[in-house]
């Protein structure tokens, strides 16, 4: 299972065996939605998430 670095908080994000390019994964530490840019080397980019209304 390869690891990529979260572009937001630099935490290690594990790629599952069946992870595919374009898939959206979530960083476990900062909760950012990330898009799998490539598998070799494992790289992630920030996914264009819709700005969720947090309600404050």
């Amino acid at each position: 299972m390869a690891n990529a670095e979260c572009p937001i908080c630099s935490a290690e994000v594990a790629f599952e065996a069946d992870t595919e390019v374009g898939e959206i994964v979530e960083c476990e530490e900062c909760g950012a939605e990330l898009e799998v840019k490539s598998l070799e080397p494992p790289t992630l980019g920030e996914a264009p998430d819709e700005e969720e209304d947090w309600g404050e």
Binding site: I8, C9, E29, G31, A32, E33
Partner: protein, 352 residues
């Protein structure tokens, strides 16, 4: 020297909120036998008289301080001034003392007189006492005979800023802190100010300046560098337990968000009680003390104002747990070589 199977512990001054919390934790601690809990005013009474949550959990009654037997560790939960007054007596009863008052927090007698307005009763013991936050002084606690608890507001503030100060990325000339704190931090002595009709719903600026915990924060964030200038202000809020310290510091523009994450992960990644809470999803995206009631967690989060280099650091604790009794038990675990989370695994409640 391997850890003992179980140890004997007693609590001196067990009728207050901190003593009661220490009793709750120690009664459930699998490596501890609670021998005595003292209270002069409630001597002979069942402990659940003052700690109703313990009804049915123990038949223990309050003892008098003069009936204290020798034990392995003595938790001193006395009003300020009493521990320093009779330290030799207590030290004669146990090899390890965990003092949860403010008597032995400061290393320098001068700083103590400035903060507390009178000379310390045994200044020669100040240097030997260890400031008992394991995340800061774990090794020193292991061998210490006098472990001092820390001020609750100081604990939250220090743990929020410590990694940044250690990495020396913040401007030490001006650290602004606004701490929000619940009513239990003031203890169980009633007054008109704590009378429900006066206190309920209050957001009371009880110490805009001159709060005593500032001295501890300054002491612990010096870290071999220049002494930081801490501008501290405290507000009591509509809660019983809980502290949220909101610090504002200026950070070198070269230190971006990723670098800050790295600094916090480097210092707190392996700490069982410290959680970095800066989340893009969910309701609780930054630290919030209401989730921490009864838990020993200190949650730390931050947000960087890119334009000005301002960093807002938020840290939350339960003032009776990581801010007092929970931290005391954690330090005891370190001192006796028990796994550090023993008896401190309660995660907190949600919703609450």
């Amino acid at each position: 020297m391997s850890a003992p199977a179980t140890i004997r512990a007693s609590i001196v001054g067990g009728s207050g909120y901190v003593g009661g919390e220490a009793l709750r934790l120690l009664l459930a601690h699998e490596r501890v036998d609670v021998v005595q809990v003292t209270s002069e005013s409630f001597r002979g009474k069942l402990v659940h008289q003052t700690h109703p949550n313990l009804r049915g959990h123990t038949k223990l009654k309050f003892s008098g301080v003069d009936d204290l037997e020798a034990v392995d560790v003595l938790f001193l939960c006395l009003p300020h001034g009493e521990a320093q007054g009779r330290l030799a007596h207590y030290a004669g009863l146990a090899d390890r003392l965990v003092d949860l008052s403010a008597d032995f927090r400061l290393r320098s007698p001068e700083r103590y007189r400035a903060a507390y307005g009178h000379d310390h009763a045994c200044p020669e013991r100040l240097a030997e006492a260890v400031y008992g936050i394991p995340e800061l002084h774990r090794d020193a606690i292991r061998d210490a005979s006098l472990i001092s608890g820390a001020g609750c507001l100081a604990t939250a503030t220090i743990l929020g800023l410590y990694p940044l100060a250690k990495a020396d990325v913040i401007d030490r000339s001006a650290i602004f802190v606004d701490a929000k704190v619940g009513s239990s931090a003031a203890g169980n002595k009633p007054s008109l100010a704590t009378h429900h009709a006066e206190r309920s719903g209050a957001f009371r600026s009880f110490a805009p300046t001159g709060h005593r915990h500032t001295a501890e924060i300054t002491q612990e964030l010096t870290l071999g560098g220049g002494e930081p200038v801490v501008h501290f202000s405290a507000t009591s809020v509509e809660a019983v337990r809980g502290i949220l310290a909101t610090a504002q510091v200026m950070v070198d523009p070269s230190v971006d968000e990723k670098a800050i994450w790295k600094i916090y992960r480097e210092h707190y990644g392996d700490e069982p009680f410290l959680r970095i809470v800066k989340d893009r999803a969910g309701v609780y995206r930054y630290p919030e003390f209401k989730l921490l009631a009864g838990s020993n967690h200190c949650d730390v989060g931050f947000e960087r104002a890119a334009d000005t280099g301002r960093l807002v650091v938020m840290s939350a604790i339960d003032n009776l747990m990581k801010g007092a009794a929970g931290n005391g038990v954690q330090a005891m675990n370190v001192a006796f070589g028990f796994p550090e989370t023993t008896g401190l695994g309660f995660p907190g409640l949600h919703p609450v």
